[in-house]
Amino acid sequence: MSGRKVKNGLMSVLVAAAAVLIIAVLLVMMWHIFFSGVRYLNWDFFTKPPAVFGESGGGVFNAIVGTVLITLVASAIGTPFGMFAGIYVAEHEEQRFASAVRLCADALQGVPSIVIGIFGYTFLVARFRSYSALSASIALAFMFIPTTARVTEEVLLLVPSSLKEAAYALGARRSNVIWNVSIKSAASGITSGLLTSMARIAGETAPLLFTAFGSRYVEWNMLRPMSALPLQIYIDASSPYPAQQQQAWSAAFVLILIILLLQYGMRFVISRVLRVKA
């Protein structure tokens, strides 16, 4: 056998070994999260606020409410900005300013989450002198906007130009074409992009540390400190009490469920409701 062939065989073994090792590590992780999470789950966990420190029992209802509220408000703030910025870039694709906007969106996507958190603190919390869920939502919106803008732009550029030209030939104006032709035919892509961005911000912790701050009570008022699942996981995991640590695993499991629901479940529901393929 020539050296080439030996090398070929050796490398295929190495490549396969790397793949197997990584897949094994990833599977072990999933296994840990799944089983450690499920073991301590019960109905109270979903419906009750946390028990007194160090005691077992209680749940994360406050954190579930917080995650849902904070994520929804953040996406409500971020969606118009992100979508319109994406539309702008897609419509003025060749212009210098549009590519500057695109570069800024890319750069913003790379801003570490803790920087967003500390920005939220100095910009909102310090100014209004109170921790609040709303400031957390605004901080998260800053993560939501660039991803939404990029997804919207990418999906809009996939719309066939023949479709748009046909609409222009019928005398439609640009806003009409964008709104009634491009957006509609890109609806599925934009929806799934929005849901992916939502799933991403739902799992963010660092921007919440100094903005939402956390709360042990079920809180519905966006102007007050609020708990959230990622925050609860961080606090519980750092606790010395085993009961708290177990709760962290279960909360992690619930958080993953919410994220998967957003990414795959909602996509299915929306595709049924809107009759678009998402």
Binding site: L26, A107, S113, V115, F142, R174, I178, T205
Partner: protein, 309 residues
């Protein structure tokens, strides 16, 4: 004769203007965000900038009690964990990407890709949770074993915790792997089939083809992907915060507890009481922000040029 504008025409024109104005505003807001971030962090860190000036970046003392702050230990911690994680994960990321692109059948590749996608979307705090309760005890056991091996009593006693640079590097390596592997895979699957087939027809083995045709073809986008992954690793917060041990001294070994720029903020910000302490932590954030922007812009430049040529 000029046709008179009907009312609906005018209304349409107004709508057109409004639409343009709104989309331009959103675009400008996006650019303004970056400026706003910089200014806000710059202003909020004025106390620390006034007290320490530029030497803040290379002073190695970080002492909340005497109020002497220098960012060097955190900058060193950030660079060691970031580059360490990149070094550990890159061979595996390349291996997985090549495996999925060239070796795996569709039946295998599909599920593996969705597993990698799933892990890429997991929140950082969950990686931190796993790292703290699974990875750190393993590292601790390794540290004790290693301490006995080299006969270092200090390592054996320190090894009971397991938190430190090594744990952070390993956890980060696992975290950035799905990201870099899927980016590399994306560029590998667009290598033109003619090139690959041409090489195979000339009698090249599969690995010859990969080494001489595919990898050179994706070189630029792979470098871009790795720079992006590095950017992620440098700014990663929660997972690192949970396993790095919040050490404030310069690390001397891979087992030492340390801090990155991000983890120092996450660990200490809520405990910081004096204005100078708070402002120094915000300046760490400013340094991290500038670093992240530079790395991301560099990566995009590399990737964009890769598309043109």
């Amino acid at each position: 004769m000029v046709a008179r504008q009907s009312r609906s025409d005018r209304r349409e024109l107004v709508r057109e203007r409004v639409f343009d104005a709104v989309s331009l505003t959103a675009a400008v807001a996006l650019v303004a965000t970056i400026v706003l971030f910089f200014l806000q962090l710059f202003i909020a860190s004025r106390d620390s900038r006034a007290a320490f000036g530029l030497p803040f970046l290379w002073r190695s003392e970080w002492n909340p009690v005497t109020e002497q702050f220098g960012a060097l230990p955190m900058i060193v911690g950030t660079l060691i964990t970031g580059f360490g994680a990149l070094l550990v994960s890159t061979p595996f990321a390349l291996g997985v990407a090549i495996f999925l692109a060239d070796y795996a059948s569709k039946r295998v590749a599909g599920p593996v890709k969705s597993l990698i996608g799933l892990l890429g979307g997991l929140p950082s705090v969950i990686f931190g949770l796993w790292g703290l309760f699974v990875l750190v005890p393993l590292v601790s056991r390794f540290e004790v074993w290693f301490g006995h091996l080299v006969g270092s009593e200090a390592l054996v006693t320190a090894g009971t915790t397991g938190v430190g640079l090594l744990s952070a590097i390993l956890l980060l390596a696992i975290m950035i792997l799905p990201f870099s592997a899927s980016l590399i895979l994306e560029s590998l699957i667009v290598v033109p089939a003619e090139l690959r087939e041409g090489a195979l027809a000339l009698g090249a083995t599969k690995w010859d083809t990969i080494q001489n045709i595919e990898l050179p073809y994706v070189r630029r986008s792979t470098v871009g992907a790795l720079v992006l992954a590095l950017g992620r690793a440098l700014g990663e917060t929660m997972a690192v915060t949970m396993v790095i041990g919040n050490g404030i001294r310069m690390p001397h070994s891979l087992f030492d507890p340390s801090n990155t720029l991000a983890s120092a903020i996450a660990n200490q910000f809520l405990e910081a009481t004096s204005p100078l302490y708070i402002s120094s932590l915000i300046e760490l954030g400013l340094v991290l922000f500038v670093l992240a922007i530079l790395i991301n812009v560099a990566a995009r430049m590399i990737l964009r040029r890769g598309v043109e040529t």
